[in-house]
Structure formats: structure tokens, C-alpha cells
């Protein structure tokens, strides 16, 4: 029982990341009709926003310490962050410690800007082209973005730890009456799950309760009629692209303490996120969220030793197997609408 609870918990944070990426993907597909293979790269760029802010905050000037020596025996050059000069060491350390959460404020404008530039600069030229062309161009874009990041940040993962306050884990088992230390869950993963829930809630509320959201939903249902009413739906869709980029970016920012980011992390999530979108139903926002969590938890279960012992290798294929079964029985996905991707 405790093993099952643990794997459900495990599935939640992975599911959160899948759900956030898939939400943006399906939002772009629903509004613009574009299959965006560069969405994983946006997740990765979000993570690198956190890396960049950490680097900016630790930007230093050197002070030569004559009492110590470096690896070549020369006087040691000690790096002193500029933040210390401005705020003093204690506040400076606290700011550096909270770099990842602070990156949220840095990432939102950056990601919206990148999203808008991507849409206006490249993707809008492919609206009327077949999906295959869209996939090719966005996949190419993803590789270019990935290589740019690798050029500047290197290929190895860059540690981006959570604030000191969130290091360690929460004894969930003790809370629900199990033996202490049996079901523990890192604090940051709980934060990630809560953060994902808030973002998902905010996106839904935005689409459901604002006039802007109402117009976007109307545009998703019938773009032509909305246009005939004199509403500039294209402009709104561009903003939605920026928003979807920001959602992916924030998912990336908050993911950095879970796994040290590297240039390839977007691709690792991209394929699975597409499976999530397809299983959830193309263009369905609740479907994407549901499928994200479902597949995250399923993947966790499949990597249990007891399961692998019975069916070796199941951990690597389970998501695709389930996707095949769902698509065979429900070709529109779990919550897909009639007519989407069927023309």
C-alpha cells in the first residue's frame, strides 16, 4: 500500500510537468491549428531562464587573496558577487538562494516575448501549410534553439538548487498513519505540484472568466465567424501563443531543482507531451491535464521493481502501449471534441 501511495505521489510531479507542457501544446493547436514541435524547447528555455538569473545574481568581480593559492600556485582570485556589494552578504546570499523562484518574474516577460517573436516571425507563415510542414519547421527550430543553448551553456547539466528552505523531504507516511520514513516526498516536488495546479487553474480561469478568454474560445470554435464580427482574432491568438510559451517556460523554471537542466531536456519531454495531447484529445485543455497526470502516474507504476520483474522493459513502453489502446478504443482521445483533426 505504501509503495502504491509513493508511486502515485511520484507520478504527480512528472504528471505536472507533462500537463503543463501539454496544456500549452494543445492551446496552440486549438487556437492556431499548429502542431508545435518547438514546445519542448520552450520548456528548456524556461529552465535556462532560471540558470541565467542564477548566473546574473552570482555575477562577480575578483578580489585577489594573497593568503591562499589556486591550483597553479598563484594567489587565489576570490569571486565576490556584485549582489554582496549592493545588499550586503546576508541579504545577498538570501537573494542568490531564492534564484529559482525569483526567476518566475524574469521568465514570464522573456517567454512571452520569445513566444510572440516565434509566432510572428516564423510560425504565422505556416498556418495554411500542411501539418507535416509545421512539424518540420518547428522541429528544426527546436534543434536550432537547443544548439544555441548548448553553445552558451555547454552540454553538461547545470545544478540549480531549490532555496534552502525547501531542501529535504516531507514524511507523508507519518501523516497518514504509516511507519515514519516509509513514504517521504521532497518538499520541492510538492511545491512543483502546487505550482502546476495554480498555473493550470489560472489558465482555465483566464479562458473561462475573462472577455479575452471568451473571444479566444469563440475563435477556437469558429474562427471565421469571430473574424466577421470585426474582432482581430489573429492578434489574440498571437497573445495566446505567448501565453502558452510562458506556461511551458514556467514549467521549466520550477523544474530545474528537480533535475539539473541541460540543453536536451526539452526533447526528453516533447515526445511524451505529444502522446499526452493525443491521449487527452487534440485541442482539449482538460484532456491534456487529465492525460498528463494519468500518464505520469502510470509511468511511475511501470518502473516499480515488482512490475519490471514480471514484464521486463515495460517501464520504457508503457505510455505508448496505453496510448495505442486508448486511440484504438477512443480515436478522439479521452476528451477530444468531434471534428478536431478529422478533416
Amino acid at each position: 500500500m505504501d509503495a502504491i501511495i509513493l508511486q502515485i505521489l511520484n507520478g504527480l510531479d512528472k504528471g505536472s510537468a507533462y500537463a503543463l507542457i501539454a496544456l500549452g501544446l494543445t492551446l496552440i493547436f486549438g487556437t492556431l491549428g499548429v502542431v508545435n514541435f518547438a514546445h519542448g524547447a520552450l520548456f528548456m528555455i524556461g529552465a535556462f531562464c532560471a540558470v541565467t538569473l542564477s548566473k546574473l545574481l552570482t555575477l562577480s568581480h575578483t578580489v585577489i587573496d594573497e593568503t591562499r593559492t589556486d591550483f597553479l600556485g598563484n594567489p587565489l582570485k576570490v569571486e565576490v558577487p556584485y549582489v554582496y556589494d549592493v545588499f550586503g552578504q546576508t541579504t545577498g546570499d538570501a537573494i542568490i538562494d531564492w534564484a529559482v523562484p525569483l526567476s518566475i518574474f524574469f521568465a514570464i516577460p522573456v517567454m512571452i516575448l520569445i513566444g510572440v517573436i516565434m509566432e510572428r516571425g516564423l510560425i504565422k507563415h505556416f498556418y495554411k501549410r500542411p501539418h507535416a510542414d509545421q512539424i518540420l519547421v518547428t522541429f528544426g527550430l527546436a534543434i536550432v534553439l537547443q544548439e544555441i543553448i548548448k553553445y552558451y551553456y555547454g552540454a553538461n547539466p547545470i545544478p540549480t538548487p531549490a532555496p534552502e528552505a525547501f531542501v529535504g523531504s516531507f514524511d507523508f507516511g507519518a501523516l497518514i498513519g504509516f511507519e515514519a520514513g516509509q513514504i517521504i516526498y521532497p518538499y520541492w516536488r510538492l511545491v512543483y505540484f502546487a505550482f502546476a495546479a495554480i498555473i493550470i487553474g489560472a489558465v482555465f480561469a483566464f479562458l473561462q472568466f475573462t472577455t479575452f478568454g471568451m473571444v479566444v474560445r469563440a475563435g477556437m470554435a469558429d474562427r471565421e465567424t469571430v473574424g466577421l464580427l470585426g474582432i482581430n482574432i489573429d492578434k489574440r491568438f498571437t497573445i495566446m501563443f505567448g501565453l502558452a510559451a510562458a506556461v511551458a517556460g514556467l514549467a521549466g523554471v520550477m523544474y530545474t531543482p528537480i533535475n539539473s537542466p541541460n540543453y536536451h531536456m526539452g526533447m526528453d519531454f516533447l515526445v511524451l507531451s505529444f502522446v499526452v495531447v493525443v491521449v487527452g484529445g487534440m485541442g482539449s485543455l482538460p484532456g491534456a491535464v487529465l492525460a498528463g497526470f494519468l500518464l505520469g502516474i502510470l509511468e511511475s507504476f511501470a518502473s516499480m521493481r515488482e512490475v519490471i520483474d514480471i514484464i521486463p522493459g515495460i517501464n520504457q513502453v508503457v505510455i505508448y502501449l496505453v496510448a495505442i489502446i486508448i486511440l484504438l478504443t477512443r480515436p478522439r482521445g479521452l476528451m477530444g471534441r468531434k471534428g478536431v483533426m478529422e478533416d
Partner: protein, 447 residues
């Protein structure tokens, strides 16, 4: 004109086709000198096949730096580095056999097929007489086999799997780097001394060749001193989040977790294990411990503070204080501004060893070079007295057991050497079961 007659155009066509046929597979053709790509002018070309893209690109970049430094030193430029401390004095700083050393580079992408293609291109198009490099055992084994067929020497880079000088060994291939067996043999006594002999270990193992041999080596060595292995799970190489593999460890009664992972896998699995509080656990009345059999400073950097206090093994570390290591660190550090990695060290050594063997053999012919390397004993290259064993072309030298440093003084100062395991303790018989199943065969000059 009837069909059977010769025409001018027909003769030209036939001639062109026949000519092309003769030109293309140059490395398969017998040459006047009797071996592939024999240097004829005043220069000799070596091929550096390293990952310049993909997940090990940083190791590859560091290896290229070391190769460039080695080329400088061989050609008599710079401060000479470890050439000055090398016990063999055959190298004069005038190139190799008086020929200036030039090089071409290829990108292995850490993929066997890409690595073979780039090595093949360097041999056939650029006339490389020796191929060296690689940051993965899969790549090393593949390129070693290609070099054997092509008749050039392969000086392996960073490859730790037993198979490279075990079941996949080749007469034209040589490895300076240590291997999984040596890691296990060196680590086990240190682990016993620090964690006791009554331990229950759980292994997470990368699902490929290197992972299997490392798990086997560490299991065998730790079980021999009394540890029990309570679980082994293979993890996909593409895995990024290891939480679902880490949590079953909590459910087992294991009190040690062995991470047979390298590169990004190691960074992520170790980070996840620490996040899940494994290091704060007490199981069976003992503190829970984590072990990483193969450490690399570049990887330790990726895992950040999570490596503190964790044991592992490494081929070489820049903080060593012997003359060879100091000379190399001085030379590399002055040129590039930071200390070299173990990946850089091993390829620099391989360059020196190859060049020296050619000088001693008086010939670039692969079989002559191989004969000069076989059974060669040397010192002064940073690892103490070393033997290039003739039976399997594996270097035998001391192995470093390292631990993540608690209070690093710089971004390079991440590991501390806790023990230098003497070579006798990591030496094994050529027919040891972990290395069985292959044969060196005979060396190939390619002609």
C-alpha cells in the same frame, strides 16, 4: 559501328570506373610501405575522434584541448608538459620520427555509427595513421573494431567498460583508462573500512554495456567482502527523472545505493536520491550510504553539493602531487586557465605513449607500434609505475578512490583523493571471467 567494337568513349568510361575503384578503398589496398596511410612527406596525420556534440560534448572539448597540447609538446612547442617527466626518453620534441604532427578531428556524437563514420572518413580521406578518442564504451568498442579492420592503431579515450579490453579486445586497440573491474576492486576495501562488511546494497544500473560490467564488478567485489545485494534494477539510458526508481529503495531494506550511472544519468539519479532524503535515512541501525563507482569531475560539477561525502573511483585527478601530474596541470592550466579533467589526462597520455612507441619501434607500422606498446612499463605520466599488458592491451596502474569534498575551495575542487589503491590489488588474470569471451587476434597492418 557494331556493338562488340571498342570505342574511344567506351575505353574512357571503363578506365574511369576502374580508376575510381582503385582509388576509393585506399585503406584496403596494399601500399608500397606495407601498411595503411604510411606517411610519405614531412608530416604525419593523427585522427582525434571525440564527442563534439551530444551529451558528452564537454568531455570531448576537454579531450581536444589535451590533444592540441600534446601535439604542441610533441612538435617541440610549449613547456613540454609530461614529456619531461615521462620515464621513456625516446621523444625529442621534433614530431614523431622527425615528422611534424598534424591532426584532423571527427565528431563521434557519442553514437557508435557516427563515430565509425567519422573514424572511417579520417582514415580514408585524411590519411590518419592512428585514431584516438571517445568518451563512451559503446563508441570505443565500435571504433576499435573498425581500426582493426582498417589496419590502424586505436588508442582508446575515456572508456571504462570491461569489454573494451575484455570480450571486445582487438590487437590494434590499446586502453590507458582503467575499467569497471578495477573500480570494484579498489572501492570494495574502502567501502568495507568506512561502512562495514554487513551491508545490503541496491543497484541502479544504466541499461547498456558499461552499466552491466560495472554492476557485475562492484557486486562481485562487495559481495566477496560480505555485502549482500538485495536488488538490481536496469534504468533506461534516456531516463531523466529517477524518482520512480529511487522510491522502491525506500521500501527495500537496503542501506546502500550503488548508482552505476555516468554522465547526465549520474547527475540526475544522484540528485534525485539526495532529494528523497536517502542520505538522511537510518536503515538497519546504520546510516544510509550512496556509492558512485565511476566519478568524473565534470559530472560532479553537474550534481553540485549532492556529491559531498560520496565515494567513487577515478582514473586521475588534477590535485595529485607527483611530478607528472604537476607538470601536466601546470601546462594545461597555463594554456587554458583551468585544470584538466581525467578525460583530458588519459588522451594526453595515450598520445605520448603512441608517439613514444613509434619512436622506439622506429616505424609507424601498426604491428611494430603494437609490439613496442605490449608489455611496455613506464612512469611519470601521473599514475605511478604502469604496465601496458601484452595479453589484453590494458594499462595496469594504481587506482584512485575519491570522495566528494565537503568544503570545496573552488569550482574545480570537488573531489578529494582518499586512497591510492596499489596496482597489485586491481590486477586480474587475462582470462578472468569478467573479461572472458574474446581474443586479441593478430595485429593488422592493413596491407
Amino acid at each position: 559501328m557494331s556493338k562488340g567494337n571498342l570505342t574511344r568513349r567506351g575505353v574512357l568510361k571503363t578506365g574511369a570506373v576502374a580508376g575510381a575503384g582503385l582509388v576509393l578503398p585506399t585503406y584496403l589496398r596494399a601500399q608500397e610501405s606495407g601498411f595503411t596511410n604510411a606517411p610519405t612527406g614531412s608530416t604525419v596525420t593523427l585522427g582525434f575522434n571525440v564527442p563534439q556534440s551530444g551529451p558528452y560534448a564537454d568531455e570531448g572539448a576537454d579531450q581536444l584541448r589535451a590533444y592540441e597540447l600534446a601535439v604542441e609538446h610533441l612538435n617541440g612547442e610549449g613547456d613540454g608538459g609530461m614529456m619531461n617527466t615521462f620515464s621513456s626518453k625516446a621523444l625529442q620534441g621534433n614530431g614523431i620520427l622527425g615528422k611534424k604532427v598534424e591532426y584532423v578531428t571527427g565528431d563521434t556524437q557519442t553514437k557508435s555509427d557516427a563515430a565509425r563514420a567519422s573514424a572511417k572518413s579520417m582514415i580514408e580521406k585524411d590519411g590518419a595513421i592512428m585514431i584516438t578518442g571517445g568518451s563512451s564504451s559503446g563508441v570505443a568498442v565500435a571504433v576499435q573494431a573498425l581500426c582493426q579492420e582498417a589496419g590502424v592503431i586505436f588508442m582508446a579515450g575515456l572508456t571504462h567498460s570491461n569489454d573494451t579490453t575484455g570480450k571486445d579486445k582487438r590487437a590494434n586497440g590499446f586502453r590507458h583508462f582503467f575499467n569497471s573491474y578495477m573500480s570494484g576492486a579498489a572501492l570494495a576495501p574502502v567501502l568495507a573500512a568506512n561502512y562495514g562488511t554487513d551491508r545490503k546494497a541496491y543497484h541502479l544500473t544504466a541499461d547498456y554495456n558499461w552499466g552491466y560490467t560495472t554492476e557485475e564488478a562492484v557486486r562481485t567485489s562487495t559481495e566477496a567482502m560480505g555485502w549482500e545485494t538485495v536488488g538490481t534494477v536496469l534504468t533506461p539510458l534516456t531516463q531523466t527523472d529517477f524518482s520512480s526508481y529511487i522510491t522502491p529503495v525506500l521500501q527495500s531494506d537496503a542501506d546502500v545505493l550503488v548508482l552505476n550511472h555516468y554522465g547526465g544519468n549520474m547527475v540526475n539519479s544522484l540528485t534525485n536520491a539526495v532529494q528523497f532524503g536517502l542520505r538522511d535515512r537510518v536503515v538497519n541501525g546504520k546510516n544510509f550510504e550512496i556509492v558512485v563507482p565511476l566519478y568524473s569531475r565534470l559530472m560532479a560539477k553537474g550534481a553540485g553539493a549532492n556529491v559531498k561525502g560520496i565515494f567513487g573511483s577515478t582514473n586521475w585527478h588534477w590535485s595529485l602531487q607527483d611530478d607528472g601530474s604537476k607538470a601536466f596541470v601546470q601546462s594545461f592550466g597555463t594554456k587554458y586557465g583551468f585544470p584538466p579533467s581525467q578525460a583530458a589526462h588519459t588522451v594526453y597520455c595515450q598520445m605520448m605513449l603512441y608517439a613514444d612507441a613509434v619512436e622506439r619501434a622506429g616505424s609507424f607500422a601498426p604491428c611494430a607500434v603494437a609490439e613496442a606498446l605490449e608489455g611496455f612499463e613506464f612512469d611519470g605520466l601521473g599514475n605511478g609505475p604502469t604496465l601496458y599488458r601484452a595479453e589484453d592491451h590494458q594499462c595496469f596502474k594504481d587506482v584512485l578512490v575519491v570522495r566528494g569534498k565537503e568544503n570545496p575551495t573552488s569550482e574545480f575542487d570537488l573531489l578529494e583523493v582518499v586512497e591510492v589503491t596499489p596496482v597489485d590489488q586491481v590486477t586480474y588474470a587475462p582470462d578472468h571471467p569478467q573479461f572472458a569471451g574474446g581474443a586479441l587476434g593478430t595485429c593488422n597492418n592493413g596491407a
